[in-house]
């Protein structure tokens, strides 16, 4: 079987996000970029399915500028068999990303697409669901356990009330939650091996995907800084202050 894993490059979770001075976006210059942590979990799960003995080819797919190859090399070092970069200079919104992934799933004849439930940059949590709808295949979102049986997948989902277990027929889309697994560390010899694994590049324009953004980002701003509190002398002063601020009538 073929497992397609989506890899999105995001600002590393340790980085303190800074909004650009003109409010047009988030500062990326000199900032550490890494694989979206939920996508690492998706890749780990694909590798585990393969390591449990299922004949599977794991293909890492990313969308972005040419230097996203670096993150795809990391995916190859973790254990993906090959990688495809859909090259575009623009950041894609979830609907466009879903369309691109649909095209890739069709081209590759994928049996299973595993995606992170969301990317930690825009927190959209939409791409997996949109892909399943466009593909007209089942979706199992927020997976915390996955078990493959022939052509069906038993997925434990993290829902508000607890855990829900569902079965879906393949091909299907799975999106990963945090508890699904702990991704492995990349090993140094595997980084060397990854250098010779196949990494193909396709231009977005060649994919014949409608690529007009559906949303327009108006502005970005950092949350307002919290103002420090202060101590008051006694209860009277507290009540007066609450009155002054209009908290008490």
């Amino acid at each position: 079987m073929k497992i397609l894993v989506g890899i999105k490059r995001v600002v590393d979770f340790n980085v303190r996000i800074q909004v650009k001075k003109d409010g047009s976006g988030v500062e990326l210059a000199g900032v550490k970029l890494s694989i979206n942590p939920f996508d690492e979990i998706a890749l780990e799960e694909a590798l585990r399915i393969r390591e449990k003995g299922t004949q599977a080819e794991v293909i890492a797919v990313s969308i972005g500028p040419a230097d996203v190859q670096q993150q795809l090399r990391t995916a190859l070092a973790m254990g993906a068999d090959r990688a495809v970069l859909v090259e575009t200079a623009d950041a894609l919104q979830p609907l466009m990303a879903a369309r691109v992934l649909l095209e890739m799933a069709k081209r590759e004849n994928a049996d299973l697409v595993i995606l992170g439930k969301q990317a930690i940059d825009d927190d959209c949590n939409q791409t997996g669901q949109m892909l399943a709808a466009l593909w007209d295949r089942p979706q199992a979102t927020f997976a915390s356990a996955v078990e493959l049986k022939d052509k069906t997948l038993r997925v434990t989902r993290e829902v508000d009330a607890g855990l829900e277990v569902i079965e879906v027929d393949l091909p299907a889309v799975v999106t990963t939650d945090l508890r699904l697994n702990t991704p492995r560390f990349v090993k140094m010899p595997d980084i060397m091996k990854a250098k010779s694994k196949p990494l193909a590049t396709v231009k977005l324009a060649e994919l014949n995907v409608a690529a007009a953004p559906a949303l327009e980002a108006v502005s970005y701003a950092a949350p307002a800084a919290r103002k420090g509190g202060h101590k008051v002398a006694d209860v009277q002063a507290l009540i007066k202050e609450l009155h002054d601020r209009g908290v008490l009538a």
Binding site: D12, N14, V15, R16, Q18, K21, A29, G30, V31, K32, T182, P183, R184, F185, V186, K187, M188, P189, I191, M192
Partner: protein
Amino acid sequence: MDIQRDVMTYDVVVVGAGPAGLACAIRLKQLAPAKTVCVLEKGSQVGAHIMSGCALEPAALDALLPDWRKTPPEICVPASEDQFLLFTKTGSWRLPTPPQMKNHGNFIISLGSLCTWLAKQAEALGVDVFPGFAAAHPLVEGGKVIGVRCGDMGVNKDGTPGPNFAAGVDIHAGTTVLAEGCRGNVSKKLIMEFRLGADSSPQTYGLGMKELWRVPPGRVKPGLIQHSVGWPLDGKTYGGSFVYHLDQDRVYVGFVVGLDYEDTDLTPFEVFQQFKNHPSIKQLLEGGEILSAGARSIVEGGLQSLPKLDMPGAMLVGDAGGTLNVPKIKGVHMALRSGMLAAEHLAEHGTSAGFDAAWRSSPSARELHKVRNIRPGFRFGLWLGLINAALETVTLGLLPWTLKNHADWSNLKQRREGKAIRDYLERTLPPRDRLASVYFAATSHDEHQPAHLKVLDTNICVGRCAEEFGNPCTRFCPAQVYEMVDDGAGKKRLQINAANCVHCKACDIKDPYEIITWTTPEGGSGPNYQNL
């Protein structure tokens, strides 16, 4: 625990992707392209753990990569004006700028960005650069260094392998180049094992702290370089400030405190924060925001503290040895030059033997010889130090004596009755405290791993140290890693917040009983400095 380890073999393994290590790797590939070279870096990416002022003297970079100005690193502002100031609590006086501190023709850079940039050049030449992999132990066989062992990943707090355990790789190499920077943990072990410091004074250090600010428009003068001495330090304690004006309303502000200070109650972090709140600095920063912050020890011992730079199978380059020029307050050009010289030596002779002699007959050694007595002269206080510095400068270091250095930890004086009275201001600029500051270093350590700061005997902390020195670790650490907390039974115990550590190494240096050892945490842990 019997662990199967992968072994990788290279002609040369470089420990540390700083200016010395990367210059060495690049030069080696330029001279001997067939040699296999790898560079290990404990930071999650190249540049994440490095910090410097930094006013770069570009001649060494010109020699290494003559075209560097065509595609300069991210931050690179030509120096425009030098100012050297003496601070009091309320004012400041201009002093003549010492000749070695003039920066005409130099560039204000971020050393982190320079290293990111150098790593790309190295990779283009075929060097394997491995960020996120920490060299934890030297591998020594038959009296010769044969490589390094990388730290294990995924170890539980109790030392047992966790579910995603990955054994560290052994890297075997014909030559190991130690370029770990100041107080490197592998270098420290090898300096002891091979007794490389037997003929030199103990190494001495300073603690540097730095912040990158974005300030309201119209305040910065790109290229302006200001240094100060004096307040908030008293006349007995060595140290000083730097303020470097960048472009785009950004400014570097920092402070270095000599770790040979005597007063156990001194808090270097507080000194830095006081400096920022001096009226002349506050008017620059007020209303701005901190973009990033960090702290790092720096080498201050100069020529007389320099250990022997070679041993069988390995060599020390840059501040792993200690080539920084203190009076010039510059180390990057020296690091680049020593890395290049090491590569040239290896390309010609194929062995580390003779590198120490080669370095000592190089222009770098002459540069350090000229200024060797300036930093130690400040032991006699700021004023005598400045007079001595002027004398040494006009005589070009030809005076016949060489002042010795003493280990920093041994200088700390025991607490006497009453504390020193400090002439401090009320602070208003952020960060409020050290924890708020650590936030700007974006430091992170997986909390499941064992604490990487090892304290030999915590009974000393609770007993002798509390009594004699009042636990200075709770003050000298710029990241508040060490705290004395109630143990729930009416006594105190030492709590180590290892996850806050910014890898500055001050504790390894200054602890008066020499019982704190800094070891490497999991590769990729630690600060994530941006543009420092």
